[in-house]
């Protein structure tokens, strides 16, 4: 028996999602003293920045932090400087360790970025950081909370974390911890693009198809690979997300597809 039809994403009510996110953003502002916004100029982080601006009626009363590995696409640097000026951002750029050889950089990219973030947190004494992650991005993310503490080593005990009930978000921090604020947690990729279209949020042209390829995510140049796609504008991206299967679009399997495969491997005796 086959499933009736294939649904890639459940399309949520954007206004409900947005109201919830604004609520989370304001809760964070009220409960932490020195908050930073981690901005990678990618679509998620820029959308989050856009919403923070809405939450404070056109202003962004926090420091915006860019962790620069030196390997970003030049179009992203241009975007950063342009919008920092247009939106009047309090921007600080934390220079991460620059490893010139792209292969060597790729090997250590995660570590390099984490070190730089740690240094920035210490330097600016942030007690909380806005991060634009979503639950549907990665299997591990399903356990995240809106407010999620991290210790000095950026470790996080997902088993012991308190529940977030009734809009009452975790606000207790231990010594040396900082809080990660995740306003986009309930958004999925399609919701995000629909919102980007609705609001006309500026996104980088690299997300659009050129020569049969486009970038689904924009990390550092050596670490990012484009995927085959013909979507030349946001409408086409939305259509693509609705119709083509996840693994075709990205090469990476979704959380549920991963479990299917692992189940298979298990049945086959691989482990």
């Amino acid at each position: 028996m086959e499933g009736k039809k294939q649904i890639n994403f459940v399309e949520a009510n954007l206004e409900e999602l947005e109201n919830k996110s604004l609520y989370v953003i304001r809760e964070a502002a009220a409960q932490f003293k020195n908050i930073g916004i981690l901005w990678s100029m990618g679509k998620d982080a820029t959308t989050m920045l856009w919403m923070i601006r809405k939450a404070f009626l056109g202003k962004i009363p926090f420091t915006v932090l860019h962790v620069d590995t030196g390997h970003k696409f030049k179009e992203m640097y241009a975007m950063r400087d342009r919008y920092a000026k247009e939106w009047g951002l309090k921007l600080v750029v934390e220079q991460a360790e620059f490893v010139e050889d792209p292969d060597k950089h790729r090997e250590r990219c995660g570590e390099i970025k984490a070190n730089a973030l740690r240094a920035a947190i210490q330097k600016h004494k942030f007690d909380a950081i806005f991060v634009g992650i979503r639950r549907d991005e990665h299997v591990l993310r399903t356990k995240e909370r809106f407010f999620s503490p991290r210790d000095k080593e950026f470790k996080w005990d997902y088993k012991e974390q308190p529940v977030e009930m009734w809009g009452l978000l975790n606000n207790t921090l231990e010594e040396g911890e900082h809080m990660r604020i995740h306003p986009l947690l309930d958004w999925n990729e399609l919701d995000l693009w629909r919102y980007i279209k609705k609001e006309n949020i500026p996104i980088n042209e690299l997300y659009l198809s050129k020569g049969g390829y486009r970038y689904r995510s924009l990390g550092c140049v050596p670490c990012t690979r484009p995927v085959p796609s013909e979507a030349k504008d946001v409408d086409e991206i939305i259509a693509e997300l609705r119709t083509t299967e996840f693994s075709e679009r990205s090469g990476r399997l979704s959380a549920r597809e991963q479990t299917e495969v692992m189940q298979k491997l298990r049945a086959l005796g691989y482990f």
Partner: protein, 649 residues
């Protein structure tokens, strides 16, 4: 745009919840390629549970440790399933899932070895408590009893009985016999159960559920998350009702009235905003600076009411103890204050919502307690039955959260015991801060000393008492006569005069005559500090507006060893005549220049509260103290507890 319904799936660990959810998702098209998991042999079931237990520990423990959200759609609605674990240990996680659900699907196994067990009952009881409606009850594993209708009926009967027992309305409950592993009756009708004529699970869902009606028709309740003083801007969430530009709005407990200015929702200016929306709006009010996070705004017709005490129902979801007298951080809406468990009125079992004990001393894991909560500061909460958003809370202690709902609030808006503070030149620099402390109800000036500028005192908007010394020997820095003092009181429009050494009703009548002649509103406090006053207590009490026991002078006159006894009697008489009573002298001397008062002082404050004294008079504590605010803070700490223990509102 389809409406969204939040569902939770509850039931005992082994009754097949995860399999059920997997099957439901698959049938709705969420999971594909059946063949990947299909085992080649005929009759082997598909293990959908593996789809959901992503983490290895969970697979190994076969338990879902946390909640995860899953989505699916039918023709009618969009559903969000919050998968809840079944094991008792994880009631805390289950609560988080249930807390967001509008409806529940209950899974109970028909397998003779399973059926209705403790976890099933606990979950049903908790659902009922939190007001989550049961959409449908799935009786699973019908294959283990040969698909017999008789067995199905046995289970439905037992379930109905239990639901009635805990107080649920069972008239509309739907029961569906299913086999989750084979997908029978989940989205397609089972051929093996022809006797069942009802809908499939999905069929029932679409028929029974209704999206939550927006609470727009209810009175306005907007919770303040954040304020900006420069712009007079409030950022918050509308929990109920409508916010309209131009309307009058009242905030409690800040007690601020204002007019709603421009409103912004999702970055756009609007004239009205509705329940569920995150808003930013200007409040035109002179008292804007008093507004803070946690305040609740409402309109004139149904102003929000602050309270100091409430009766709540609290669940103890895990290994922890809650004792009478324990203090917690109380979180509700944007409020975060402290609350004391003043009393555990009833202890209830979470297994069947039945009564266990009255006046318990503590609650343990799995218990539900009906408790009296005393808040340290006034807050706005409402009955859960009227307003879910303002009626639910978490009590927190060391990262453990105990969820609860408000059953009843009190009308009480003031503290039971208040403070009358003596003022001296030494007090003046601290006065700004002193009057902001809770319980500070009146300022007192001793006529034996140099008088302050009453104009300055009046700015604090508190009643002022002028003490008329009566005995020439007591004059210190001032030689103003009693008569002159009375005239000053009348002239400066003082609120109360305190008559010292009252011995007879006649003295008081003379004073009243002067007051009346001057057409003044000054009230008279009779100070009880003489033998004669005790003899004529009833008459004096009746003639006075208020009583004050000056223990120092009373002790001198009747003997200090007798004062406590007389205090009790005098308080009783005051209550009999419905007059307020104040007690003075050495209330809390040990709070001066120290971090900790003596046990004697702490006990005496508890005693005065127990007796029902209305005012404690602080003399040296506020007039001859370098840090009067600190003393008042210590005193308030003790009074909070004392009131929690002894005051029935």
């Amino acid at each position: 745009m389809k409406k969204n319904i939040n569902l939770c799936v509850v039931g005992h660990m082994d009754h097949g919840k995860s399999t059920f959810i997997g099957r439901l998702l698959y049938d709705a098209g969420y999971i594909k390629k059946y063949e990947f998991i299909a085992l080649q042999q005929e009759g082997r079931e598909i293990d959908f549970a593996h789809f959901l237990d992503i983490y290895r520990e969970e697979r190994e423990n076969a338990m879902t440790m946390d909640t995860t959200k899953r989505f699916f759609e039918t023709e009618k609605y969009q559903y969000t399933i919050i998968d809840s674990p079944g094991h008792k240990e994880f009631i805390k996680n289950m609560l988080s899932g249930v807390s967001e659900a509008q409806y529940a699907i209950v899974i109970v196994s028909c397998d003779e070895k399973e059926r209705i067990q403790e976890q099933t009952r606990r979950h049903l009881a908790l659902l009922h408590l939190l007001g989550v409606r049961i959409a449908v009850i799935a009786v699973n594993k019908m294959d283990s009893v040969g698909y017999k209708e008789k067995e199905f009926n046995k289970v439905t009967d037992e379930m109905n009985q239990f639901l009635a027992y805990i107080g649920c309305d069972t008239s509309a409950t739907a029961f569906v016999p299913i086999v989750a592993t084979r997908g029978e009756n989940i989205s397609t009708h089972s051929e093996k159960m022809e006797w069942y004529k009802g809908e499939t699970i999905i069929g029932w869902l679409d028929t029974t559920v209704m999206p939550a009606p927006p609470s727009v028709a209810q009175p306005l309740r907007v919770v303040v998350q954040f304020t900006s003083q420069e712009e007079k801007l409030v950022l918050g969430k509308i929990e109920a009702g409508r916010l309209v530009q131009g309307e009058e709005i009242y905030f409690e407990p800040a007690h601020v009235q204002g007019v709603v200015g421009e409103i912004s929702v999702l970055g756009k200016q609007v004239k009205e905003a509705f329940a569920g929306e995150a808003v930013g709006f200007i409040v035109k009010s002179e008292k804007f600076s008093l507004l803070k996070r946690g305040d609740v705004g409402g309109t004139g017709m149904h102003k929000p009411k602050p309270c100091l005490q409430a009766i709540g129902e609290v669940i103890v979801p895990f290994d922890a103890k809650v004792r009478v007298g324990d203090e917690f951080v109380f979180r509700s809406g944007a409020n975060e204050g402290k609350a004391i468990i003043a009393e555990i009125i009833k202890k209830i079992s979470s297994e069947n919502l039945q009564f266990m004990e009255n006046n318990a001393l503590s609650l343990h894991e799995g218990d539900i307690g009906i408790v009296r909560l005393q808040f340290r500061e006034q807050i706005v909460v409402e009955r859960y039955s009227t307003s879910k958003e303002l009626g639910r809370f978490l009590l927190m202690k060391e990262k453990k959260a105990f969820p609860g709902i408000i059953l009843q609030t009190t009308e009480m808006q003031a503290y039971k015991t208040s403070l009358i503070c003596n003022i001296s030149p030494l007090t003046m620099p601290h006065l700004d801060r002193l009057v902001k402390q809770k319980r500070v109800a009146m300022l007192r000036v001793n006529g034996a000393f140099e008088l302050p500028d009453f104009a300055i005192l009046r700015k604090y908007n508190l009643p002022i008492v002028l003490d008329i010394p009566g005995d020439r020997k007591k004059r210190r820095t001032s030689m103003i006569s009693d008569e002159e003092l009375l005239n000053i009181a009348i002239r400066e429009r003082i609120d109360f005069v305190g008559l010292s050494y009252v011995r007879s009703v006649k003295e008081m009548e003379d004073v009243r005559a002067v007051i009346e002649k001057n057409k003044s509103q000054v009230k008279v406090i009779a100070k009880i500090e003489t033998k004669e006053a005790l003899l004529h207590l009833n008459a004096i009490t009746e003639a006075a507006d208020m009583l004050l026991i000056d223990r120092g002078d009373l002790g001198t006159d009747v003997g200090y060893e007798k004062v406590p006894f007389y205090q009790e009697k005098i308080v009783a008489v005051a209550k009999k005549f419905g007059k307020k009573i104040a007690v003075a002298t050495e209330l809390a001397m040990s709070t001066i220049n120290t971090d900790r008062p003596t046990h004697a002082d702490t006990t005496q404050m508890h005693t005065t509260v127990k007796q029902g004294v209305d005012y404690l008079v602080l003399a040296e504590e506020t007039a001859k103290n370098n840090d009067p605010v600190k003393s008042v803070e210590i005193i308030n700490l003790i009074l909070d507890f004392a009131e929690a223990c002894y005051c029935l509102f």
